[in-house]
Symmetry: D4
């Protein structure tokens, strides 16, 4: 037996087992999805390219494909405002970082959080960030997604008091080293209280933010 | 003028400017401390070795030195339980990781949080962790500190539903690479929702946890 | 002459020369295979993609292709229980790590060992591992295969007394660095007695385990 | 409470908890040692420099210091030949690698194994290795310790059939990178069946070898 | 003959040979200094610790030691405002980065440039930077020195039109990697037109700025 | 809204927002381009492969594609010699480095600078460089582009007095590490006053050179 | 003008300019080749894939393609035994390293040297090397090519007295890191007198060997 | 027995076993030295600091200490001009690289070679190199030693036809990475025929040069 799904994880940790799609075949994912669909449980899968999504949706037409987020979902529930502290705000530095921001958005929504977003707010033109001060002050958690503009989370952290989660992306070239430079900049930020997740891990950032936002 | 303290930071971000002591002279720190003491503001400094602490306390005897945490403090306030959601739990993998755990503890307390700790709970003998399941379930945030036993945060994350912040430490030898291996293991953990701070950054973990715990 | 097979290796080391297929052409492998088939000796080749396997099997139809393990074999012998101490258990963290686990399985069987496997036993849901305690206690060697869940071998090592061989895999993204993070975590494990092989080297782990299991 | 010793580890894994001395104070080690001495259990500590050893032996004179291995021990038992398969052979490439080899030797003996050693057997003069062929053939496990001569384990592996455990050391300069080059060479060896432990980890190699040698 | 000073370099490149003091003995530096003093040429040496400076000044009392910059100088000339375009502004992120900023200042002044400085202007409190907008607009070149706050040069670059030279410093801990993280952040900045020099190389930044400012 | 163009950047920094094309779709770039064309503002985009260029030019035929530079441009203005100090000289080490040199050339011209170039002037045959001494002396800034011949900027710096900007390229194999070796060599050059930009960043070098050359 | 061939290099250094084909188009190479053919000078190009070779040979049919070495040549001269000291021996560890060994062979022959080869002589079966002792003793220089078996040059160096040049190859997987592990092992060899060239640089090794062998 | 000297190495390889002194105690070196002195064989030891040298010379007063080279020697023979092809030239880039150059000089002389040297010939002032053209043309091998001026070997290689051996040194700071940058620059040089040894390995360069120079 190839997969041994941890169907109790949601009870234990508040977050169900989510399928990492990158190195699984469409057939493997269909088999796994069916065990979720049978139980009418929330099904989420990340890192699914469009072609694989097509194959899977042929067997399981009730599954939705979120193109920009490269995710599959099924059995999404309505968010319940009495279960959360407030709103998750997602800020995104460059246009090219949007797929990672969208992965965070879909995940956070699937886990029951209201989400708002503001994209293309790079440090080279800070007025684009300052124009969002109101949304920043209102948020209960902020997720900042940045690749080439790795400095953005530091600046955000300096102007808000809620927890900030930073997601480095693999966007860039040369010494961006597939996201390592952004990651390191975020880990070394002097703006205290910033926490970081793996490169391109919009999913993980949303899980952390959701745990924070959960009442 | 060498230093230009950001005395408004507490208003803006909820966390006052904390002095990074490692590469400052005792004289520089005394000069900075005096600007805090005059305002009767919370004064905190990290990475102060015992000898430097002695020098500083000669000029400013009202300052306390926390030996295990290698920190200085002054004007600590009583925690106000109505301002926080609950308790911060600090778990520490090995005896050698304790100084980093203590930096997190002193910082979290100074920022107004009730804190409890459990040390030496490495993965090689998991019963030592499972015996803490009650405290784990009760916590509103968990900070996990680990160097050679970098796997601990993954295991903790799998058995709790509150947000978990992982702090890698520089303890180890050979391919521990001064904490890089622990850091990388934490960033790659399959247990979703784990967020990470810089190596040995107990201070930063406490700031993030405190922002989470603040009402 | 391109290849100069070490046909005495089995006598000297108990393990025959096994062909590394990745950077050899189908023609080169056919030429080498024929020298084994003529001697009716055990023939094994690793890292053979399906297309190359097809080409080779056209010239040498007596060769078997193991799809999941990406291996070729011929002249496999029946295992002889009087030559081994016991059973080799292969544990595998994630579904995506299975090809490496299968390479270990086919190799260990070809070298005369009884093998059992348990797949998808990641650290984020430890009950999946603890349910195997009996098989773990019964094994004479355990091979643990893990990529994103690099912590698994530490946990296994803490609950068994037989030798454990860890195989990091290249599965993951971002800071998994093609398996380096898993490798480093395994080398730094506090669970003593863990030994490690190269990333994705299921073949090498099986050779080491087989030498341990040989009477 | 700083330490929380895993006194059951020996039952679970066959190897007692061994104290990592490098980042513990003499006082911390004395406190831990006393819990072992009270139970008359085997006490072992690694990475103890002579000065720290002196301090500790003032409080606990029944403890022995092994200078070359930089280890402390107490309550060593007589080896019981009916519990092991045979002899552990330790080969060491350069004179400068000897402390790591000695750490392996003391550990292996403390765990009940008969041990023999051969030092300064570098690859630049292979006759020094070939003169040991008899001891190599007789061994039930071989530990090979090497820093600047990282090629030695590959050569040994090619001339024996028992399991080989390689320990890279941090000896060397320039591109030896504190043992990384030796480690990488060992992980990439074409001699199948070599398994590797952390840089300078003579202790871990002995634990793995001892688990292999245990009946 | 140990040294072979390039006394024509000033004619060829506008910048005289400056002595790199770190790995030279006091005696070697005295010998070199005398060849400059005989010619009444500008003498500059970098990376001189206080003790070495004392030794050298015993033989050559006409030499000045700049403590914060760790530099020696002799035969400094008055700046000639007709030879430069304007003012060099040096911005420094943290108190701990000041020695590098001072190396840049002394060098730039020695090469004939008017220099102004503003220290401790980190990104976590941006108002400290914005209060300098006037000086920023007036400068003909800006040197930005930053270690833990590696994001500062990006922010500066976004609000000025003169050339900006960034100097990463080795200040920080953990994943600051002795300045590599700051360096990489600066190289990847999206704020176009930023150029970078080696870690801690205040001297080189001043040479580049001086070449820009030279009429 | 995916993009939020910083249309004031040219006023603030002298350099308009330039589109980084690598990870944007043709549709995204067309949408952005139209906001520039409407305002009749200078439009520049970098890292556009020929196929993407074709798609874009179908929607916006007024845009020009610069094949060797892999750039798009529109609304280029005539250079105004009264706004600049002089000429930018671009030196290029190897034939394979030309695309990066061309990116620098098109950018510098678009920003209003007269540009001259000399290509294939590697260090292995220095006479090819010395034959350009006149152009070198006449330049007001020099951009040196080099991959496998990373030593070129050091040599150029030693024979000129204007500012030199070095661009490492990703050309090479083995230990060239995609441009890291060239970058490191440039950062460590003993020829003082060399400043460096990211690997393959001809665009950034031209922005820095243009800021230097602007009156 | 894209290329500026150094046609005097042969006079200055004994080795003509050789074309690095990897990042040049067929058209660029044809243009360069024609300047050599006109002068009837030795033409050599490395790193040419078969398809590019076909294109080039359509324009220049007098050029020969060496498939295994991936090289082009024209105007090869007869070796003149009075110009060299003796024979160059090329040893190659694995079958997969042969293309690099062939690049060395064709280059060495083109530069006028008699060459002999012995392939597949890995360290895991040393008898395959010792059977070549006679050829090893007779050689005036030895080139050793090895990837996964990076230990081979150390062993060869220990049994011969002529200069040895080691070429690491990019063959391997996991921690072979595209040849870095082999390179590092060769640089750290305890067998004195080994010199090393870039990964996969059979061409450079042959140039060095040829300079040694030239009378 | 700690050491097992390879007294036949000189017969086999032309170079006697030379003692690596860095991690051996004075007592260990004295014991080894005595086995050489008894046989009146050439004794050489590298990496001996002055204090260790003093201790050793108290027991063995016939041993000479070479302060700048940090080497010990005894039983040096007169060079025999009939056994070598010619002269070894050692070029050294910076004053700080001299200890490595001296290690090469003493070794080469001890192995019977006439040696000449030229120090402080950095690339930033190339006339200092070109003034040595005559010595360069006359040499039979050239050793180039360079740290911060890693470009020197490329330039030398472009103006001579004898074999060139490059030695990177650990001199520098920041991104010089203890010699890695110099090493990488040398491995990637476009000047064909350059071979490289380990960082600071003057000894190894001299061994290679001596093997080349031996008749
Ligand atoms: N241990 C620490 N790790 C990371 N940041 C710190 C630490 N201690 C203080 N800080 C932050 O570092 C900044 C002080 O830098 P500086 O201006 O150099 O004193 C403040 O913004 C603090 O919030
Ligand atoms: N997957 C593998 N990983 C590591 N080594 C292997 C693998 N498959 C075969 N080998 C070894 O690689 C060597 C063959 O290399 P070659 O001469 O290039 O065929 C043999 O000594 C095998 O024992
Ligand atoms: N702090 C510094 N950083 C980088 N280069 C320096 C520094 N100080 C001096 N230099 C340069 O280093 C060279 C001196 O090297 P050396 O011959 O070893 O004295 C001169 O060319 C200086 O221009
Ligand atoms: N080739 C390039 N390298 C570095 N930065 C660039 C390049 N091309 C454009 N940019 C900058 O990248 C930013 C665009 O990022 P984005 O918002 O993702 O389009 C702009 O600020 C440009 O100035
Ligand atoms: Mg943008
Ligand atoms: Mg413990
Ligand atoms: Mg799973
Ligand atoms: Mg030896
Ligand atoms: Mg500050
Ligand atoms: Mg060229
Ligand atoms: Mg082979
Ligand atoms: Mg010099």
């Amino acid at each position: 037996k190839d997969a041994c799904i941890d169907h109790h994880r949601s009870l234990r940790t508040g977050i169900p087992e989510v399928i990492y799609g990158e190195s699984k075949s469409a057939a493997q994912i269909v088999a796994i999805a069916k065990t979720f669909l049978q139980q009418q449980a929330l099904f989420l899968a990340t890192r699914i390219d469009p072609e694989k999504a097509n194959h899977i949706r042929k067997s399981c037409p009730e599954i939705t494909y979120h193109t920009r987020a490269r995710m599959l979902s099924c059995n999404l529930q309505e968010p319940d405002p009495t279960r959360v502290h407030g709103n998750i705000l997602i800020l995104c530095a460059g246009t090219s970082d949007i797929p990672v921001a969208e992965e965070a958005k879909i995940t956070a929504q699937a886990l029951g959080n209201p989400v708002s977003t503001h994209y293309d707010a790079g440090v080279a033109g800070l007025h684009r960030l300052f124009s969002q001060q109101e949304a920043i002050t209102a948020a209960s958690v902020i997720i900042v997604v940045a690749g080439m503009e790795g400095a953005l989370p530091s600046v955000v952290s300096g102007i808000c008091s809620c927890p900030v989660v930073a997601v480095p992306t693999s966007i860039g070239y040369g010494t961006s080293f597939g996201g390592i430079t952004a990651l390191l900049g975020m880990l070394n930020s002097c703006a205290p209280g910033l926490a970081v997740v793996n490169i391109d891990n919009g999913f993980g950032a949303a899980c952390h933010a959701s745990a924070i936002n959960r009442k």
